[in-house]
Amino acid sequence: MKPSLSLVLISIASILILLLSPMLGLDAQVNAEIKHRIMTEIRIPRVLFAFVAGSGLALCGMVFQAMFHNPLATPFTLGVASGASLGAALYVSLGLSFSFLGINGTSFAAFSGALLAISIVYGISRFRQGFSTETLLLTGVAISFFFSSLILFTQYLSNVTDSFRILRWLMGELSIVGYGDLMQLLPFVTLCVAIIIWLSRELNLLMAGDDIAISRGVAVKQVRYILFFSTSMCVGAIVALCGPIGFIGMMVPHICRLIVGTDHRWLIPASLMFGGGFLVVCDTIARLIIAPAEIPVGVITTLLGGPFFLWLLIRSRSKTA
């Protein structure tokens, strides 16, 4: 199938999901006015928020996979998300409260944590010349564990309310109300998407390996720094608002690559649409499965993502062997 046709089908599916999912699970007994309020103040902003967050996570995953030539390399496996989580957890437990240009301080804290994590992982890989992608992934895993234990430590020292807030948030949840959070998220994701679209040709060349990319005229170092910075910003903003929702960044771009191919001019819009639609579906499942209670959406994505990760691992092993 042509990439353009596949992209159109993915987009149609995602838009249908976006339109239908707010309707699901609406109690028929409730009167029209309350229904209307639930739709406009809770369901619609929540679905839009899930869509934007899913798009952002999928796109950042796609960038990491392209930069490191490995489907297992994502902001989550390389520790960026746990860095962001640590930043946000510290912000909560230290009782900090500031905002800048209308942007919540949690986002800045998460962004700093994300940037710290990627600096450490990339710094180690640069310091040790001739590292393999496996080394890079293991470094990421080690950083993730380290940051996770620091998060637990932070949580342990917090009071009960903060501790529960951190725990609930760590599971990844989308129980937002109103459009405030969406407005917090949108500028970061939009900026990141714009930068990545701008660099789509460079991403294509990075997939051919650094040497070829440089010989074709890509300033690989600068491009990498720009991509690290913008994805850290995007992941930081998402993690700050809805916690570390795992595996979307790994699954979605990989599936999209199987559908539309490796050209980023198609892969970027496909990942955006698929990622958005996918998180909306996961959130709808999380909302409905034990209604009226809700499961954190991160539980659903991780339940789907874990087996997928293993499948990728086995597949890539048998390919190289």
Binding site: Q129, N204, L205, A208, I212, S215, G217, A219, D263
Partner: protein
């Protein structure tokens, strides 16, 4: 003859390890330089310095009488293209996609594919006879086909200098001859300046114009290619004795490793 590349005392160190030490050479327009030497001599590193993949630690490298550091990576790519040693068969692209990407240095993020790009693409396909593979995936090519596509991609970049890192190492004799012939055509008919890393001493001495012999990161010999094959020099270079004979067809001097202990 105009000077294209001047290297003055070029050195490369990574950490506290010196990979290249005081390498000096000059390459004229239309020249064909072969870099030879044992494994680990720094041949590939020298190509990577020229391409801007590795940073120069000391010394000067001039391209068209201008320091390489004064060029942006895009400007450099318009002057030099590079065929790396690694196989292109792991690349997740179709042949056409991969070759087209070589037009990168002539574009900004917003510019469209131009007639000039199409011409460069068709030209590269014609010279290397690879247009027939254009819709195939890189992973489905044979070793020889893949190497020709890698060269096509470098040609699509339309740079006057072409760097090749052991372009025939993994090929069978037939495809070796084919790729060597292609490189000679590029040099002689298309006036492309070639710098090639090779382990094939006979090919280097017969087909190239200049040879730079590296050992342990230092220059062991630099001179006219047809004067290269000499018992003492080859022994110093490879710690191996060679015997010499004349090619029955061309009469060219051929070196063979001495099998006696």
């Amino acid at each position: 003859m105009s000077l294209l590349i001047q290297s003055h005392d070029l050195s490369l160190s990574i950490g506290n390890k010196t990979l290249l030490n005081n390498i000096s050479f000059e390459v004229n327009k239309g020249d064909y330089l072969c870099i030879v030497g044992p494994n680990g001599a720094g041949k590939s590193s020298l190509l990577k310095l020229l391409m801007g993949i590795l940073p120069i630690s000391e010394g000067n490298l001039l391209l068209n009488n201008k320091l390489v550091s004064a060029y942006s990576q895009k400007q450099l790519a318009q002057l030099i293209s590079y065929v790396p040693q690694s196989s292109g068969r792991q690349l997740p692209f179709s042949v056409a996609e991969f070759v087209k990407m070589a037009r990168y240095p002539f574009h900004s993020a917003l510019s469209d594919w131009q007639p000039a790009d199409q011409q460069a693409l068709e030209n590269a396909f014609d010279i290397t006879d690879t247009g027939q593979f254009s819709s195939r995936q890189m992973s489905t090519l044979s070793g020889g086909e893949c190497q020709r596509v890698m060269i096509a991609a470098a040609l699509c970049q339309q740079s006057p200098i072409l760097l090749l890192d052991e372009p025939t190492s993994f090929l069978d004799p037939h495809h070796q001859v084919e790729v060597h012939r292609l490189i000679r055509t590029l040099n002689q008919q298309h006036q492309i300046t070639i710098i090639e890393v090779s382990h094939d001493l006979n090919h280097a001495s017969q087909h190239s114009k200049q040879i730079l012999a590296l050992k342990g990161g230092e220059t062991l010999w630099l001179g006219q290619a047809d004067k290269f094959l000499e018992a003492k020099r080859l022994h110093a270079l490879y710690d191996q004795d060679f015997i010499f004979l004349d090619h029955p067809q061309t009469g060219a001097k051929i070196a063979l490793p001495d099998e006696q202990l």
